[in-house]
Assembly symmetry: D2
Homo-oligomer: 367 residues x 4
């Protein structure tokens, strides 16, 4: 099977770099088109990222040679699309909400599907916010989305905020097993890579913690789960009405890996600690059943050691695509509490976006 | 007024070093006696801490010249007591619970009051766990304690665990203002100095978080507040029966300053965010009213900036003796949430111990 | 004696904040005028630094109320000068070289002396680069400078780069004691605060070192000492012709405090390790003799412990104005080697600037 | 070809853990025997490292099931040797010099070759200190060593200290190309993993640098190169007489990766910067020519970016087995200067030991 040529928008930023790295030797996709801000346009990718490359692994030599295009120039992408150089795009755009929103729609209107990490369209009712293990059925909204816009082949699908990645799959597994979740109090300790580059100034974070993450990190963490847990009704995604979530988001001096400490309250049916562990250890989602190439073998890893999960030791579990859980125990106020971790720029960003693309390909939405 | 000569047990450890530093030029107390493990005994204090001194400020030259005694050798302390070199001792002992417990009792039995940071006696029903702004009336247990043991002048008074220091005073201020607190969910991010020296290995904490603190940090954080909020009944301290507390304690790469994120639920009478701020800003305790030398002028400092409190910027507020609060806002699950911070080795350890000694002196228990 | 009203240019940046903090309660100077970029102009100082304040100590309440002026607006400063609100200015401007150069000259031309931290005028031959303990006699260039420009009261005096602060005084003490220094190989490990705010991105420095500091840090470190060691000849400062210096500058994950490891070669007269220590311990400069208020009592502190100096423990020595040295021992290639440390934003920036102003006041150049 | 069964002594320590991890799926060697201190003996390996596992990658499940033996019990190893479970051992022992020395000899005397990371035998004249790219011919000392001790199959071969790993191969490449090196001044910035576990206390290194590494790190760095560059004469390794080396070793808050800044002086024949780069880029050693499984493809990687090498980005280059160099430029005092980096626990410890074993197998010394 010939690989599908793909593009990356915002390819020089932090998440863009992760896309380039993770797509190296991907079995289905091949990066043939890279676009970024006008400042980078016209340069070779290698020149555009010189002195700004953030990752330990270098980019592939062939991507280094590609000339960066202006991400605002949709015509250029259309031409590449026709030349079979850009079947669809991953969007890691870092502009303002309105610009991103309009630009992603322009690509979709031009027949180029957009798999996005940006937050611009997360609250558009006919755009699915996908976590491949949780709501793969939300792809069913795409025909409605296309119809509403008069789009033929193009569409937009997005990822949620990286802050919720570590605990959404474990919560979903419990709900799926029949245990309703009514309330969540969560405190996160988030890595600096979540703020992009240059992102968090070192003067703010060495020997320090910032007890707040702008813009709207806590609100996103409280609302996005409700859409992911929602249902398609009348051509739009209707949000779930529970759980009630209270999120406090902190920035900590960790490079990669968001950690979250949760207390949760169940409905009337309350699982024991052992039942919860059993649910998590046996959970498989569609990516596992369909053996999608980027899917972790075991999406939820529970560690019994009392001092795990730890960002530096657990973020890379199963190609940095698994979530790692530990410290499950009763809560004195709600029902149970535990600590969850995921790699924010892989599972929580580019890796999650690639898995979404694999899901969409598997479902036939990428031709 | 001549200064009172005092001793420090465990003077070479992390908290012991803080005692030595904070007592330098103290208006009431003068360090004349230092004791530590047999390994240090017989050396000058300067030799005993050579290569192990942890603080930016050096110890006073005159303390450096004092010969370290063996903390296990109570007779030696008794002799010093008679020579007017050791009216009472600060205990920063780092031995096991049983040894510490027995040793502190031996000092007390010898007529030497013990103001302790150790956890050994925190659950002894007739030993007060003092936070000078909250429960200064718990010193009233001392006559009962003395009577029960047949002690004349000696007694034991202790401090709570440093993990709860940042939020106990703010909670007390609310209770005192008539707002009952029923439930607390708290997640802490604790500095490495809390584990003493050598304490946390650097390999465990650079670019990392440890989601657990042994031994029993969470249990201490859940139980000690109940004793502090308790009442003296029949010669013992009867624990309060609420709030219910659920604590999750994390170790983070911060040198000094424990941060805590809390969600709390009130009883029927619920203050608004503005009422809470007003209570905190106007709160004064006995240390403020009595103008005890180490007391912070304003024990609770509320900061309106959304990105405060931060350990590096706020831990030293008011000689590192104030607690600093921020981010007060409604909670979607309980009633309100906020973030609190205090300096764990000053307010949460040696500084708090010194303030307790000042309180006890003020109340007449130190002669 | 009434205090002299002073202004701070660039008052909202990292070094500007240090000036504001260090000038709080200064016995001679009183901040009455603050200026920064047009973005901050018109705001209260408290508003201009909200969310950007970097220091543990807060600014003085009265400075918080001052309205920030536009630093480019020299007329505004002239008006303040006439109103006795700005006798001279400290310049912590962070613009490009040419703009800074022109702007500082405009203030001087207007009769307002400029004590600068900026690098713009360091290579202007009639501008002194002052370290108060080393070359206080270089203030003698000021009459030549005034004459050359036709300035009456104004002048410009600058500080060297913070990277060389830790070892210049120790080297000078040796030269003054008769030991010529011919060669220096120095490797620095510099704190992130040296790059200002936002400065070094946290993604670049957590669990990492950057083996290079732009722009031109190594060149500055190699050349500026020659001007400081130079002589006034024919109305200009003639650079010294030695030592030859080879500098390698690294950025390390430390908040404050630049550390330098040096190997040096003497001329024919070579002191022993003991002689060097004696020279350092007994060294006093003009600031010490004149008892200038910001001068450290002992400008060079030698520590015998083999694991000192350390940034966190030694940067604050003597109000962060002393340099701390350790590890003096023979070098297998040149003559001796040692490690030196100073606080880069205090002694190496604002504190050094204030000491320069005190020197200039003492010498009669500030009226 | 059946794999060779191997043992690891000190298997539970930091370097031992790296051995276990790096030998997982090794094409030639198979871990069948693990030994550690008496405290761990008798436990499953998984139990012995529970809560102490330092690496992001977990150990192989089959090694987790092996029962740990007492490393002091040579008889136990002999029995395993006879059962074909331990053809030779990797020694990552962490005892004192004399104990390690005697124990390694006991294994060798029993016919079990010892490939060691310990420093105990580095100065034994008939024990080779191997860097496989530099002095593979030093294996020729083994017959002399065996003869001197009356050993038949056993022998001892060791690795140098990790601090010199990053620059020895680049220096050797230049010497081999005909450029004599006479003097070296080197300042290192070493990662905390170099001190093992628990190793460096976090209180010593967060927001700090330790300007000294005990015990004898600088002396090792100055002397070991002379043995590696030495010649076999009369059955012993005769040290080279140059270069003269002056080393200053610092500990920095980096997890893995030792960085070194060097200035070097050549003999009469001095290469240009371009010639040096050419030598480095084209250098291949015996491991590359023999295609040893753990050998890096390109042992010396030169990076042109002015801000490289960096520990976090470059330590893992070529399976963490390459050394990465940058910033080559003329030195104002000696001839040239540059910055070098290698992964201290892989290339500088366990990975280097495995490469040595591959070399010894290739040369026929491991049967």
């Amino acid at each position: 099977m010939a690989k599908i040529p793909v593009g990356v928008l915002g390819a020089t930023g932090m998440v863009g770099q992760q896309y380039i790295t993770l797509l190296d030797n991907h079995p289905w996709f091949d990066v043939k088109y890279v676009a970024a801000s006008p400042r980078s346009a016209g340069k070779k990718y290698s020149e555009a990222v010189a002195g700004r490359w953030q990752l330990a692994k270098d980019y592939a030599a062939n991507v280094g040679k590609i000339t960066v295009e202006d991400a605002n120039d949709v015509k250029c992408a259309i031409a590449a699309h026709k030349r079979k150089k850009c079947a669809f795009v991953f969007s890691a755009l870092e502009m303002g909400k309105d610009e991103t929103s309009a630009l992603e729609e322009a690509y979709a209107a031009a027949g180029i599907p957009v798999i996005s990490n940006a937050s611009a369209h997360r609250w558009t009712p006919d755009v699915p916010v996908l976590i491949a293990e949780i709501n793969p059925h939300h792809t069913d909204i795409i025909p409605f989305q296309r119809k509403a816009h008069g789009w033929d082949k193009g569409f937009i699908a997005v990822k949620p905020n990286c802050s919720i990645q570590s605990y959404m799959t474990p919560l979903h597994a419990l709900v799926q097993a029949g245990y309703l979740i009514k309330k969540i109090i969560v405190t996160t300790m988030q890595a600096v890579s979540g703020a992009g580059y240059p992102g968090v100034p070192s003067l703010d974070i060495i020997d320090n913690i910032i007890p707040y993450i702008g813009v709207g990190e806590e609100e996103k963490s409280e609302k996005e789960p409700l859409k992911i847990f929602g249902s398609i009704i009348n051509g739009v995604i209707q949000n779930a009405i529970m759980p009630k979530i209270s999120a406090t988001c902190n920035r900590v001096p960790v490079v990669d890996g968001h950690t979250a400490c949760l207390s949760i309250a169940f409905g009337l049916k309350k699982p024991s600690v052992d039942e919860i562990k059993k649910v998590w250890q046996s959970f498989k989602g569609l990516p596992q059943e369909a053996k999608l190439p980027t899917a972790p073998q075991q999406p939820i890893i529970y560690r019994e050691e009392e001092n795990r999960p730890q960002p530096r030791k657990d973020r890379d579990a199963d190609k940095a695509m698994a979530v790692v859980i530990g410290r499950l125990r009763p809560c004195n106020v709600l029902d149970v509490r535990f600590t969850a971790l995921s790699h924010n720029t892989v599972r929580g960003a580019a890796g999650g976006g690639i898995l979404n693309a694999e899901l969409l390909k598997y479902k036939g939405y990428l031709g």
